[in-house]
Symmetry: C2
Subunit: 219 residues, 2 copies
DNA sequence: AAAATAATTTAGACAAGCCTAAAAATATAA
DNA sequence: TTATATTTTTAGGCTTGTCTAAATTATTTT
């Protein structure tokens, strides 16, 4: 099945919205994700339903079919492998790779991404800690421990971030928090759920907004 | 200036047709190069003229403006650097890289291609022996010595090919002729201008059609 | 339960890039 | 130098993906 870039972007958007939101994704949510108007989304959804890529009943939202999901995961795989390439080989920063990968993920080839994966020596995660789906589309999702739920006095390792938007990444850079860093929760403030955290460069206060967006592994 | 992939392909086509043909490129030639109908080419040419990327007078053919040429060379640069990447890093064969580079050359980024060039350690030529334009668009064209014009008894080195079409590349593979190979002209047949050539694997007869498409450097 | 609000879909329109068919201009041949 | 053939352009139409405005359906509020 030969899909346009636009169609691929819709599928990818529906895929990730299914995880972060309900099982049946709303027109409005998709329109925000792909940056169009809701009416355009309705048009596209009907086209995708026609091609059996999504389940769709008027006014009931949309979900991916098996084949739709398979394609979405393939695009995610491409996106993340390209991100690894850009960071590891071309030495981009982790806040620069996403936009470029948005383009590269649409390159059409039967062989390219597998050769890239070999070249990159089978990375398991992208620069933001998100898992790289394998060739068959299998994907190991994050265990969803967030920094916010780590108990006082305990240590943990940063393994990913939920929000990989540019401003958040830049903010973490400023705090010098990187994947693999060990963090220790010194204290928690019940009033606003902020926490004092021991990092590689010292103790810093982290708001709940931030700590809810950092995936960690308890030590 | 933000151009569509289609517009970029037209500019690139006009650029290379200017070299292989006359200074003013005809509508029909372009239509063959970009695989559309002549009427579509006329439409596009008028759009490009509107944007000052080509010089155009009705019925008189088309040529690139300075800015049009600059953009065309940038695309050629991207194309060739991606070809090097695909061959050197992902281990594609030289007959597989062109099609993929046709897609990759359209990735939009201020920094990507320069970083790629650094990563590839500033290659001077692509896998077909064509020169890689530098950042400023300077390009060292082939000295145009063809194998067909090498004198009997003399040796030469293969430095490029004029026709990098898939069938021609596959044919050269079969003959085991590669860039860098030394060839010695043993004899020429005046009847059909074919020549007997000493290659790395022995003596083979090469037709004029072939020898006219192989760039060489005399030893 | 009815009214008000919000979300979704439909209708009609537009730009990009392509097509076919017909008209106009140019090139070639008689 | 006409007549014929070829090339190029124009005219009108199609598809994709978008938009605005209006109609419809669903959800909230009263
Ligand atoms: Mn990304
Ligand atoms: Mn990522
Ligand atoms: Mn090529
Ligand atoms: Mn090439």
């Amino acid at each position: 099945m030969m899909l346009s870039q636009t169609e691929e972007n819709y599928l990818k958007a529906i895929y990730s919205l299914t995880y972060t939101n309900s099982n049946n994704v709303s027109t409005t949510l998709i329109s925000e994700a792909v940056k169009t108007k809701a009416s355009s989304v309705t048009d596209m959804i009907q086209k995708l339903a026609e091609k059996d890529l999504v389940h769709y009943k008027k006014y009931q939202g949309v979900s991916l079919t098996e084949i739709g999901q398979k394609i979405a995961v393939e695009i995610v795989r491409k996106h993340r492998l390209w991100e690894v390439f850009l960071l590891n080989k071309l030495h981009y920063n982790w806040d620069e790779v996403h936009e470029l990968a948005e383009q590269l993920e649409h390159i059409k080839s039967e062989t390219l991404i597998d050769k890239l994966e070999i070249f990159l020596e089978f990375p398991t995660h992208d620069p933001h800690g998100d898992p790289v789906p394998d060739k068959e589309g299998n994907i190991k999702h994050h265990n969803d421990t967030m920094l916010s739920s780590v108990e006082t006095g305990k240590s943990c390792v940063v393994i990913g971030i939920k929000d990989s938007s540019d401003p958040f990444l830049k903010f973490l850079d400023k705090l010098q928090i990187q994947l693999g860093n060990t963090l220790k929760v010194i204290s928690k403030e019940p009033f606003d759920n902020s926490m004092l955290v021991e990092t590689t460069i010292g103790s810093i206060s982290i708001s709940n907004q931030i700590s809810k967006n950092i995936f960690v592994k308890n030590l």
